[in-house]
Symmetry: D2
Subunit: 346 residues, 4 copies
Amino acid sequence: MFFASDNSGPVADQVWQALAQANIGYKHGYGADDVNAKVIEKIRTLFEAPEAAVYLVPTGTAANALALATMTNPWETVFCTPMAHINVDECNAPEFYTGGAKLTLVGVTDKMTPADLKAAIEREEDRGVHGPQRGPVSLTQITEDGRVYTLDELRALTDVAKSYNLSVHLDGARFANAVVALGCTPAEMTWKVGVDVVCFGGTKNGLLGVEAVILFDRNKAMEFEFRRKRAGHLFSKHRYLSAQMLAYLTDDLWLDLATRSNASAARLADGFEANANVEFLYRPDGNLMFVFMPRWLHQKAFAAGAHYYTWGDVENGPADEMIKARFVCDWSVSHETIDAFLDIIR
Amino acid sequence: MFFASDNSGPVADQVWQALAQANIGYKHGYGADDVNAKVIEKIRTLFEAPEAAVYLVPTGTAANALALATMTNPWETVFCTPMAHINVDECNAPEFYTGGAKLTLVGVTDKMTPADLKAAIEREEDRGVHGPQRGPVSLTQITEDGRVYTLDELRALTDVAKSYNLSVHLDGARFANAVVALGCTPAEMTWKVGVDVVCFGGTKNGLLGVEAVILFDRNKAMEFEFRRKRAGHLFSKHRYLSAQMLAYLTDDLWLDLATRSNASAARLADGFEANANVEFLYRPDGNLMFVFMPRWLHQKAFAAGAHYYTWGDVENGPADEMIKARFVCDWSVSHETIDAFLDIIR
Amino acid sequence: MFFASDNSGPVADQVWQALAQANIGYKHGYGADDVNAKVIEKIRTLFEAPEAAVYLVPTGTAANALALATMTNPWETVFCTPMAHINVDECNAPEFYTGGAKLTLVGVTDKMTPADLKAAIEREEDRGVHGPQRGPVSLTQITEDGRVYTLDELRALTDVAKSYNLSVHLDGARFANAVVALGCTPAEMTWKVGVDVVCFGGTKNGLLGVEAVILFDRNKAMEFEFRRKRAGHLFSKHRYLSAQMLAYLTDDLWLDLATRSNASAARLADGFEANANVEFLYRPDGNLMFVFMPRWLHQKAFAAGAHYYTWGDVENGPADEMIKARFVCDWSVSHETIDAFLDIIR
Amino acid sequence: MFFASDNSGPVADQVWQALAQANIGYKHGYGADDVNAKVIEKIRTLFEAPEAAVYLVPTGTAANALALATMTNPWETVFCTPMAHINVDECNAPEFYTGGAKLTLVGVTDKMTPADLKAAIEREEDRGVHGPQRGPVSLTQITEDGRVYTLDELRALTDVAKSYNLSVHLDGARFANAVVALGCTPAEMTWKVGVDVVCFGGTKNGLLGVEAVILFDRNKAMEFEFRRKRAGHLFSKHRYLSAQMLAYLTDDLWLDLATRSNASAARLADGFEANANVEFLYRPDGNLMFVFMPRWLHQKAFAAGAHYYTWGDVENGPADEMIKARFVCDWSVSHETIDAFLDIIR
């Protein structure tokens, strides 16, 4: 009963097969392999963006930080929510990679509204050279709290950004889960609603560790390449990144895996909903959710071997006190596991 | 009628005399001049800190950014208010100088409370290596909105900082105005209430451009020196910085000038208070204040030749709409000027 | 006939088996997996360094840059040869990661002598705060030109470093090949001869992409962890790094693979030596070598399908002009391939 | 008898008068003062560059580092001589300000030749994204060893730079001395021979501390402004920088002062030449020179109260051993002083 993270589950079988295939014989390094050429082609097709620049990096933090560094001058500020992974979970990677840009926090939750964004941009008022200059807007889809922006919501946010001539970055660590939740195409969720650069995640959805950074405007492609190299994120044996991504894109594996994890999360959420002791932070749209459960129930769950993150002391305190917890379903969790867990806390 | 900034007024006479004196003959460069030795000695005596490391730099941004860079690891975050000069008026200088540290905003005004600070520190919860690590607390005295922390308030804030083992930086761009307002000694307002590093401002109080950075703990003194040099802030003809500061510290000139500007601001504030058309943001403690005045009154004031900053369109809009303005008294403003201005807006 | 790079060959079978094994079920992320615990234990044992801090990163550039950033203040300079990978092949990664430190070039070849090193250190004379400050010495073993420092040579260099109180970094991208060439232990080639931090390479020797950074002094271990995280080099699914390294260290696989590639290179070198048309830059100690061959011979080799790097225009020019080339043997190259190639150029 | 540095002498009288003049009344801060407008106009006229962007900063290191940061991407390398101030005397300021660019050393003396430059650029061969990318060429005029590039020499160097599409930076800390030595115009020594950005020094030539950075191409003007601000080099009371520079440019004061210091150096050099015990490194073109004198002669000079820098132990060693020394004439040194000194060492 492992609901701690979509980083904790295994890698899909198809990925191993692709890696084994890529392992045969000699291949040019540093992305000049034939597998990578196929990956680039497939991503361009998938995103209906024949000119896009496409790069693979091993982690989500690398993808976000390199993308933002390419989009942001050091004297600018990036607009993101206070919950954004780039704000709370990357140990100042954006500040490091940009050479000292700032993050301006928008709204108070995981999801910003156009009004929030406009207010934050206006707050960074025009102070000549004195204040931080306005830089890109960074959105996370699905959000860190498990919600999905609708296409209209995305468009409304990018409209605000564009009205100030700001570019838009999408942290798509759980991109696939969002596409499945929305039933849309990758293009519809990105450049068609005004996203300029997207981090297309694979690691949380069944790969060993690969994210694609897609720049719809090629203008800064070489800059990205230099930044990736000097950050140590250009793999010499790049074929093993390419192979993972190729498998991911083949026969819709990426959608398949996300469909599974979303369905598992929905099943789990249904069970939570039927349980009078559990309250949602938000009903999940994708594969993760935050809930509140009383201490005694957490104790019962942990005693039975469940794994998930909590915010608060589960051991000591009033039995009825509600304690926040995060549940994430990775692609491999079985319905039996979910049902078993729901039984325990029923 | 110039109330725009304490950067706009002239330099005090004593400073010119000291500069002329320092100009005679040859002097060692880079701070090895005899004038600088006197400055260091005087500051140590003034602050009752015989071991303190003392360095001169030409601007407040340089002072703050170099001090914070010496106090903060790149993976840490600095706690300051949203109004802090380091946040809104230094074009990301702290992020640049620290090599990519973050600022965490505390409270919602220019003045943080211990509860605000504790909440902000707790918000940067322990996420292992994932989140920004907790770094120094930065306070501005007097604040950007013109208020003064009492000694008890300072102590309460540094107590919170120390309880988390965090160091404390004081942006003292208007240090003299605060000391005059509180009627305390420099030591009482700094290390005696738990401040570790102070930027002791001179530029806004009658000098051409000099701030002293004082490190009460010498431990990182050499690091500060390397950082200052590589930032281009070590003056070859350092004697002209030293001479300004020496004049400032001689015969209590620094207190004298601040006493004048505080008194001018009090006179101006009294006039505002007596004027039914003017509302304070806060009654000023030092030499600057924010007020709200109706549009028609601003128009009248500007037409009469007054200079000050406003937030909003003074030209167009309802005559009675209240528009925010900042008034700063520098040391040289005369009571006649203040009275003349008050007459105009009466 | 692929002699272009040890990055071009396949991954060893044992590694795939270990990855498959590590893939089973759920595992804690970010290095908290049980496989990583085994890796750390094995490396400490192997290096006879029970207190060493051990970290895995995916690329050699990441390993070097993170190690150097942890060892070097931004106002210092790193001493290395002009041929050093950190100087010519990392797109300024050390400068980026250190926050702007410098590299001072030592000697004129791939191998520095104690006299070279002493001269370079003295050249960065004591200029107070004005010049770059002396920082760590970085050695590459085996060197970028394929030579191996003897243990005495290493000791003589670290003695110079220590006499100036400088720490020593070892870029061990081909660490295994050097250990095989010298017939020594890892401890003998590192801390026993005065190396403080070593990058223990795996990528060039049969892994997909893993290097271990070993800090013999734990003092800066946490700093390394923060730097790794904010660089995006902390893998969420860390088990797949750990598993590679565990396989590498099991049953002496790392030595086995390096023994193979060294033997292949020796066989190739023997063939070159017997060929009157080929001249060595240096007779190789490990698995790579630079040679000079006439243009016509390169043309013949390429026509027959050989792959290797050349410096100069192979197509056009006098047939007899000598053109420099690099030959690298990876662990998987067969003796048949080598012999076939030697036949072609005979 | 003070020949240690042109930073050690006093400031010219006209500068004090201009400062006193600028001190009257209120002035807009941050460069919006009317004095600065005049400075910009005068520099544009002087350099025959009506579109040039002109900025004042307080130190030579700030001028160089900000100029280079604006010209250089972090993944590039700056070409300069090993003696360049930016290499040996700025504690890695260029590396810091550029965000981690590199310096590639050209030639082995203070003066590079076109062949040196071409060789260095070629040495940073095209390695795709792997190596540092070629960045600007930085020249110092007059050089750190006191020599002056002729206009033809400058042109030959910028021709090499342009042939690789590289921009050219001129460190003109002693710009005035060079113009006097060459008898040319500022335009002839800069953009007319292919210089893109020049640091026009004032500090070493009679000012308190001001350098102008002149960008002949306005394209990156705003970038420079943001960089200056976030470095803490934008002065609030900018009028005191402007006033110095205005005085400097008025009635050819800058040329006048440099003419004096060059003449003094020529007089000193003539005396050295007539002294059989003194050998030149180079016969000086401007106001500084390096010479070799026997230990006993240094001892005599120091005993008589002379001040200058030496490289070596003047106290201990063979009396006849030649020890290197640097002599600099600032604008204020009198012919009597020079003659007195020459008498002592005769």
